[in-house]
């Protein structure tokens, strides 16, 4: 066996693409390429930067907020409804964005509220994605009657308005962060299930699945190590949109007074708290949390849009 001798004839005519014409020695990992494609749009780049900043602010709230709005000892009720830039009468601290009806520093309350809003949105989004992806994968892979039943449940779920189901569930379950996360998961898993199923249906017909079966791999291995990674792009896009939805939905529920308790105000609850004063000239209590909510949802959606453009093979430039 003279492999070495035949090398000239045996070696593939096409030079290995790996270090192709582009030159740089740095191996082009899928992530690197993805990132550079993502940042091609300036709007998306700004949105991503803003989103990262929002997340950092929310995470760092306990350390950067001027006041702990949950600590009743730190809050002076006498300072209630002070306009932006006012100074506290007792402690002398400056309320840059004013105070709300309970005398809480609005900036601090917003930072903490952002924390809760994002936590609820991300937690429900991730759990709903896990459940939905699992259900969708199984439906697509097993097929037949199992798939029929699962997808009819999904259709049924999707035919109801999300807000209606969430309202009913929260009314039954009661208030609390955990309850609202459960409600949001219930509302959202079906979107993920439908998305994953449709891409898994395409993927499972592809030859690499047949090849994996011919290698003697088990069903769960094929499903989770081969089919699922190929279904991720659409799933990630749906996930960003759904997290934005979850944040908005949570704000809606809190605004309606069935969401989070007064002691843990999210952005929606802050807006709701200031709503009654909005017409009496004390605009800041609702407006600033409103802007924060708007920016959060907008940046998530912009990032999601760009993700969709980059990940959709049909839009490849």
């Amino acid at each position: 066996m003279s492999v070495a001798g035949d090398e000239t004839t045996v070696a593939d005519g096409a030079a290995p693409v790996i270090e192709g014409a582009k030159g740089p020695v740095v191996a082009e990992t899928p992530f690197r390429r993805f990132l550079s494609e993502f940042l091609e749009s300036p709007v998306a780049a700004i949105a991503l930067a803003a989103l990262v900043m929002i997340v950092v602010l929310a995470l760092a709230a306990p350390w950067i907020a001027p006041q702990n709005p949950y600590d009743l000892g730190a809050v002076d009720v006498m300072d209630n409804r002070l306009p932006p830039g006012a100074t506290s009468m007792s402690t002398g601290m400056v309320y840059w964005l004013g105070t709300d009806g309970a005398g809480r520093d609005l900036l601090s309350a917003m930072l903490y509220g952002l924390r809760i809003s994002l936590a609820v949105g991300v937690a429900s989004g991730v759990i709903a994605m896990a459940i939905g992806a699992m259900v969708g994968l199984v439906a697509a892979y097993v097929g037949g009657r199992v798939e029929q039943i699962i997808m009819r449940i999904v259709d049924l779920q999707l035919s109801f308005p999300a807000i209606l189901i969430a309202l009913m569930l929260v009314a039954v379950l009661g208030k609390g962060v955990d309850k609202i996360i459960i409600a949001l998961i219930t509302v959202q898993w079906a979107y993920y299930a439908r998305t994953v199923r449709s891409s898994a249906l395409v993927e499972r017909r592809k030859e690499y699945v047949e090849a994996a079966r011919c290698l003697g791999l088990g069903h769960s291995r094929i499903l989770f190590c081969h089919v699922l990674p190929n279904c991720l792009p659409p799933l990630i896009v749906v996930a960003t949109v759904q997290v934005a939805h979850a944040v908005a939905l949570e704000a809606t529920l809190s605004f309606l007074g069935v969401g989070l308790p007064q002691t843990e105000p999210s952005l929606g609850l802050l807006i709701s708290n200031g709503f009654e004063y909005a017409l009496s000239g004390k605009y800041w209590i609702s407006t600033f949390p409103g802007i924060a909510l708007l920016l959060t949802i907008m940046t998530i959606n912009l990032v999601g849009d760009q993700l969709r453009d980059v990940m959709n093979p049909r839009l490849k430039r």
């Binding site: 492999v3 090398e7 593939d12 290995p16 790996i18 047949e210 090849a211 290698l215 081969h226 990674p229």
Partner: protein, 336 residues
Amino acid sequence: MIVPSAPVGGSGDDVLVVDDLATHFFTRGGVVKAVDGVSFRVRAGEILGLVGESGSGKSITGFSILGLIDQPGRIVAGSVRFNGREITGLDEPSLRALRGNRIAMIFQDPMMTLNPVLRIDTQMVEAVQAHARVSRAEALERARLALEQVGIPAPERRLKAYPHELSGGMRQRVAIAIAFINKPDLIIADEPTTALDVTIQAQILYEAQKLCRETGTAMIWITHDLAVVSSLADRIAVMYAGRIVEQGRAADVIGAPLHPYTEGLIGSVPSHNKRGEPLVQIPGMTPSLLSLPKGCAFSTRCRYADAACRVPPPVLSLAEGRDVRCIRPLTGGRAA
């Protein structure tokens, strides 16, 4: 590019004996007899070329051997004996232990058979660890050796690559390396060179043949290209409409075809015609498996056919391993 002075393979024992195998698909339109009474045997180190047009049932034959027939299809009759052991009707875990381990498969399109989102090393290590309890390092070493074996330069670098970073020929080499990695007794190659350039095709044929000779692995090479198989295979079986119409040693089948269909196939290869002369072609097209002609399935396209062909033709065995399914086998290219 034939291995010089290679001994003709197939000196060993029977690795695979397929006897009267029938795989039918029960569709709404009726029963599709995709494979209908196929019998052949493959010996260790032997390459069997399974030739036929698309829809003749050659791929389904391969999948039937692996027990990978999905609904609404089913193996309805016949037996597949692998190393003397009946493997039709085995339960899923036992079949899974065979697949990729003792019987491996190579597919047509190397763009499709490798998972696009997993690195080559991930996929190869997975193939090893599915059948052997070895450490990741050991599996990686086997993967590297396997890549080296199929003539891939700088295997360490290729291991870390994603499939899209490799050329088509390189990917098919990786697929072949994965097939050989667990040192199987039988490899079923389903048109592995059809999607490749002719130059790459020749290299792949060379590698596959060399590996079979070296390792004593038996191979079934499924193809529609008689030219490919004539230089590669030790024996050839020609399939038509779910049945093997002729089989025998490659030189015999190509040099002195017995079945009119084989004769037509050989005539359809351009190189067998003189320049300027019109190509010989087989008129018509493969009949629908739902409405096969009565008797000989090829009778509607056969230029020698007459009323006697309306009855199902028997299999005539002219010599040891030289079979034809025709009532009037050809001799010297003319009807007897």
